[in-house]
């Protein structure tokens, strides 16, 4: 993974929207119908990455702050890999405007590093399947479909 460490990512907006709360960060992938949350170390890593830190510098800063390696590098790499696989972040080729060291230090408010966990929720996917576009008629408009009783309806 060492060769990938200088890589920078950005949040996959506008397909992905996200908000940070006091207790967790929540992300919604508007394309896939899935939504996600993480807290603690995950929220810290996300914050650093979407503000322009490379994966390598995130690891370095975490190791410096929490002391020693303690599995920080593989935990961050695995977490970033998951974020990429879920299309929550995308790689960028040019180096972004980097957050200042002061900002980075202010974000390091955790007492200890815990392996980040990406919580995934899939219970909204059916809403995206409410009206799949099928054939169009001679006017160009899709046929109006009566709701399929097997498709989940909004309460």
């Amino acid at each position: 993974m060492a060769a990938t460490l200088p890589i920078h990512y950005r949040a996959n907006t506008p397909k992905v929207v996200y908000e940070a709360f006091e207790d967790e960060t929540v992300l919604i992938n508007l394309d896939s119908g899935n939504y996600f949350s993480f807290s603690g170390s995950g929220a810290l890593i996300w914050d650093c990455i979407v503000r322009g830190d490379s994966v390598g510098s995130v690891i370095e800063n975490l190791q410096q702050h929490f002391g020693g390696s303690n599995g920080i590098a593989p935990a961050v790499e695995d977490f970033v890999r998951e974020l990429v696989e879920e299309n929550l972040i995308v790689e960028i080729t040019s180096e972004p405007a980097k957050a200042s060291e002061e900002v980075a230090r202010q974000r390091m408010t955790l007492d200890r590093f815990e392996r980040p966990a990406l919580q995934k929720y899939t219970d909204m996917q059916d809403l995206l399947l409410l009206d799949p576009i099928h054939e169009v008629d001679e006017t160009g408009w899709p046929h109006a479909l009566l709701p399929n009783p097997s498709t989940k309806q909004v309460e």
Binding site: T13, P14, V17, Y18, E19, F21, E22, D23, E24, T25, V26, I28, L30, D31, G33, Y35, S37, S39, Y121, D123, M124, L127, L128, L129, L130, D131, P132, I133, V136, E138, T139, G140, W141, P142, H143, A144, L145, L146, P147, P149, K152, Q153, V154, E155
Partner: protein, 378 residues
Amino acid sequence: MIGCFSGPKRPTAAQNIAGPADYFERVLAVAAAACECSEAVTKSIHIGGGKRATIHFCDSALENLLFPAVAHQELSEEKIETNFKILACDSAHSGIPMWSPPWTNQDYVSSGDIVRYNNEGFCAFFQLGILRLYDVNRRIGLWWTRDYTQLPLHERAAPFLILFHWCHALGGDSSFLIHAAAIGSEDRGAVLLAGRGGSGKSTTALASLLDDTWSYLADDYCVVRAGAERPTVHSLYCSAKLDAKTLAAFPALSRRVSLYEIGREPGGKIGFDLYRSFPESFRRELPLRAMVLPRVSKENNNEGQPRFTRVGSGAAARALAPSTLFQLPGVGANNFRMIAALTNRIPSFQLALGGEPALVPRFLQQFMQGLGRSMKPG
């Protein structure tokens, strides 16, 4: 019946259309022709958050299909100024053909948005056979379907939902539409009930109709206005879609609403006009005090008594934001930001529902009274 239009009867190919503004003008001309004939009907309503809309229906049959779900919001004053105009028509009854879509099948995204036809000035959405277009600057919404006799129950129970959503979310102020139920009272204020289908929010809201200490604002969708002062919640629709299980659980409710059915899904839910059944229970607006996330709990054997647990603002946003954003597309980031600000302002609680849904409003009332001054100031 064919309307008064005497123009061409064949569908019109959309050639040389220069983009969203051009297409909007063409569709607007069609809708205006349909809504200016002698059979057209005009109504003005409150749509929450201090906003008012004028709706032009191409004929009274379309009005009879869609207006009952917002009839409790009708403006009594004549010729009052409104913030938003909607023109609603079909082709089968107005006799006016619609312009063919200038986009391709591949331009529809899964939520119903239409790629290339959503920008800062215009919004476009097609789902369940209904086209909605919105001019953000002029605040004009267009609603068209081929044949209004084929409308799904969802549209009859929540007509113009996407247009109302755009009017609020893109209005430049602090009102926005959410997927949640809302009940309350003049002295306690209102509580939002949020959660996915089957969580018990609609059941709790419906149970409040049978408890005269509660007022009813919404079963499915409501408007929140979150300005500098305490946030308020506003009613939008007076309809509810109920399944056989819910009707069986509330026989008293079933008896009253069955007089005012507005439509049925084949083999599924039945839509009812709740306002005509319970006019005394409706409130147009109340201060918002808390959010409750109901959850049907098999483990809760506390003699049927519901159990409340405080949850963080992130958990509250997870219950409210995804179902809102997936149903009300086009302005996801902005809506999520407003929902996040709301969940940071009001306290949220998970409610583990006990065995008897009819008792929930009474326990919720006791809980709200107990909260008293301990709640965050708005």
